[in-house]
């Protein structure tokens, strides 16, 4: 650890994406320390995916944690199965890797990247800027730090089981929310023979990815980055509208259940109490608590260093770095959901890689 220049705070998917990117860029395992609570970077995410019985990823062929986009999961599957089908699916944007394939690929990367040589099981509570770097809980300093602590917690509805926690389905289920997890839960509960009430505040959008595709590239990001802080916050609020992908695999069972009366949709504001009273089980598919203030480490960092914030976001440069604490010799980056100010889809795999690649550029530049 003494020779480490880089530290990653957090040990989830974004941390592994950052680690593989640094390794791809030639940074040795001895130069990197990963502080986290789980040696397996997929364990938290995998438990949530298993809870909602997720079979396929929402991401596409390049939704893996390796540094380079090629070869993607479709190419790997085509090679493994000796089939052209995954390649045809990916050029028509119909390829969705299975959760198992994604996890297997993540395990391959973890075991071959040197992750275990860099991992230290410790929850970091405080990040402090010092001359030329940062101290983490008094340890260090590290010249370059990327914080990837993930979502601060589940957004719960009182009396409800959260979708991302293990659960079964009662005969009458109310599902709160309208995003990808909620849609998955509608199908799960219907498949289990339940009657379902969908309680939603907003109507979901139908789009393949979490955000419109242009927000994943410079073409859309340039105009986003030009927005003044108030407009950028408005844009982020608008982009947070719940959504799930289009397609018959969603529409057919939902339409059939609606016709048969096994699925009803109610507005959260009007029929909320009546619906939850009817239900034997309420499932909260409302995602995560939002904002830096809900994350003790980020809240402390903001308070200690008087960082610029706007609404619930820490203000970042377009490369996901904290401008007040980043200069020619040191870097503080935020990855995952905390990086939305720089990349609206920061809580996706693409978002994790966006921050990771920018982090690598700075690490390599200041070697």
């Amino acid at each position: 650890m003494a020779s480490a220049r880089c530290a990653i705070v957090g040990s989830g998917l974004a941390a592994l994406a950052t680690y593989t990117t640094l390794r791809h860029g030639g940074v040795a395992p001895e130069e990197i320390v990963v502080f986290g609570t789980h040696a397996d970077p997929t364990s938290v995410w995998a438990r949530r995916a298993a809870s909602i019985r997720q079979q396929h990823m929402r991401s596409e062929s390049d939704g893996h944690l390796a540094a380079a986009a090629f070869p993607g999961l479709a190419v790997r599957e085509a090679t493994r199965r000796i089939s052209i089908r995954p390649l045809l699916q990916t050029v028509t944007n119909r390829y969705r890797p299975t959760v198992d394939a994604f996890l297997a690929d993540a395990e391959r990367l973890r075991s071959t990247s040197g992750w275990e040589r860099s991992f230290v099981e410790r929850r970091i509570a405080r990040v402090r800027a010092v001359d030329g770097g940062f101290q983490l809980d008094g340890e260090g300093s590290f010249a370059h730090v990327l914080i990837a602590t993930g979502h601060p917690g589940l957004a719960r509805v009182p009396g409800a089981v959260h979708a991302y926690e293990p659960h079964e389905y009662a005969a009458r289920v109310a599902i709160v929310g309208a995003g990808m997890a909620a849609a998955t839960e509608w199908l799960n509960a219907l498949a289990a023979g339940s009657e379902v009430v969908s309680i939603r505040r907003r109507e979901p959008l139908r789009r393949p990815l979490n955000l419109p595709r242009e927000y994943f590239s410079k073409r859309g990001l340039e105009s986003f980055h030009r927005l003044a802080p108030p407009q950028r916050a408005v844009a982020l609020h608008e982009l947070s509208t719940p959504s799930y992908p289009p397609g018959a695999e969603w529409d057919e069972p939902i339409d059939r259940a609606l016709r048969e009366g096994r699925l009803r949709v109610v507005s959260r504001s009007s029929d909320d109490a009546q619906s939850t009273a009817w239900a034997e089980q309420v499932i909260s598919a409302t995602g995560f608590t939002a904002g830096f203030a809900a994350d003790p480490l980020l809240a402390d960092l903001v308070a200690e260093h008087a960082l610029a914030t706007h609404d619930r976001w820490i203000v970042l440069d377009s490369d996901s770095t904290v401008p007040d604490l980043t200069d020619d010799v040191r870097t503080l980056s935020l990855a995952g959901v905390a990086g939305q100010w720089a990349f609206p889809a920061s809580d996706t795999i693409a978002g994790a890689k966006y921050a990771a690649r920018a982090f690598l550029r700075r690490v390599c530049r200041t070697r």
Partner: protein
């Protein structure tokens, strides 16, 4: 991929690199001109159409866009009379298209991790390479322009025969007594040739282009090529001055680049188009009223006849003969006539394989030809 405009342009220039290297490697001006044309068409579409219309471009769209660009490039190639052999041109285009896919989906994302999120911008090194590609293409075009053969415009009637011993382009006019071509990279364009034993005689030369050449009153062959690689395009052969004439004759040219005869109209000769020991693409010609054979692919040739119309041929419409291997497709043979000497191989046969020849025939139209499609004397026809 959501390309930025710069990303589109730089990616296109970079992915043209393999086609450009091949073009430089084979030392053919048409190849460099074609790469330049492909880039010009592509870049124009990038700036004027794609960038505005395609905020996001899914992978499958590369196929229809590739076909659209192919159609535009082909039309422009014809309009600019770039003397490219069709197969070579298609091969180069296919290489450029496949390179573009491989570069966009594999090479560039590996060379620059941020390639996709940067909107297809390949970074500083990629941008420099793209500029180098552009400069090479422009330099190549400049070089091609600087060393292009001189163009000679003929006015009125010139008494021949003319003998051409250096690369040049001859345009217009009427030449009496025939033209002999003995040099590579000679182009005749819109020249009328009257008389001569041979209208145009090409010997020991290649990359010779006869574009919209008219030949009449010749006594043996309108166009004769021996040990030569020629492209005969949109020619007109009429009014022969003897009974033993051939419209276009290409012989003993197996060691030369493939020849092509396309879009010609040939009337009233003994044989319309005839090949011997050569590789020739005979396509989209109109051959009328021949006294012996309409199109003859013979003597160990490896030829393809497609899209031709052969009318009122005496004896045989199209024949593959004497150990030749032929593909005969999409032709129309109408009114092949029985020549009356009792030989079944000349009994108004529309398409024929003769004397150890192998012909593959498909999708031809045969009208009022009593001999139909037939094989004789140890030959085979595969349908």
């Amino acid at each position: 991929m959501s390309y930025t405009l710069i990303g589109r342009i730089q990616s296109r220039l970079l992915s043209a690199l393999p086609a450009l290297l091949v073009a430089l490697g084979i030392h053919r001006w048409w190849a460099i001109e074609l790469v330049a044309l492909m880039l010009a068409v592509g870049l124009a579409l990038d700036v004027l159409v794609y960038h505005r219309a395609l905020a996001y471009q899914p992978g499958w769209l590369a196929l229809p866009l590739g076909l659209l660009e192919l159609a535009i490039v082909y039309a422009a190639m014809r309009e600019l009379t770039i003397a490219a052999p069709l197969r070579g041109a298609l091969g180069l285009y296919a290489l450029a298209w496949i390179s573009a896919q491989v570069f966009a989906h594999a090479v560039l994302p590996r060379l620059r991790l941020e390639y996709a999120e940067a909107g297809g911008e390949p970074g500083r090194l990629g941008a420099l390479t793209a500029v180098a590609v552009a400069l090479t293409v422009v330099g190549g075009l400049g070089g091609a322009y600087a060393v292009r053969p001189p163009t000679v415009h003929l006015h009125g009637t010139v008494q021949g025969p003319l003998v051409i011993r250096h690369a040049e382009t001859l345009v217009g006019g009427v030449v009496k007594g025939g033209i002999d071509i003995r040099a590579d990279h000679v182009t005749l364009r819109k020249v009328t040739v009257v008389g001569g034993t041979y209208g145009v005689n090409v010997e020991h030369a290649q990359h010779v282009m006869l574009d919209r050449v008219r030949v009449l009153h010749f006594t043996l062959d309108a166009v004769r090529a021996v040990d030569a690689g020629v492209m005969v395009k949109d020619c007109s052969v009429t009014a022969p001055a003897g009974p033993l004439t051939t419209g276009v004759l290409i012989s003993y040219s197996m060691g030369r680049p493939m020849s092509m005869v396309s879009g010609c109209t040939i009337v009233g000769v003994r044989e319309g188009i005839s090949t011997h020991s050569s590789m020739v693409d005979v396509m989209d010609n109109h051959v009328v009223g021949t006294s012996v054979r309409g199109i003859s692919l013979s003597e160990m040739s490896m030829d393809r006849a497609s899209g031709n119309v052969v009318e009122s041929a005496n004896g045989i419409g199209i024949v593959c003969m004497d150990h030749s291997m032929c593909e005969i497709e999409h032709n129309t043979v109408a009114g092949a006539k029985v020549d009356g000497n009792g030989d079944p191989s000349r009994h108004g046969v529309a398409i024929e394989a003769y004397f150890y020849a192998e012909a593959t025939v498909a999708k031809n139209t045969v009208i009022a030809s009593p001999g139909g499609v037939a094989a004789f004397d140890q030959s085979t026809i595969e349908r």
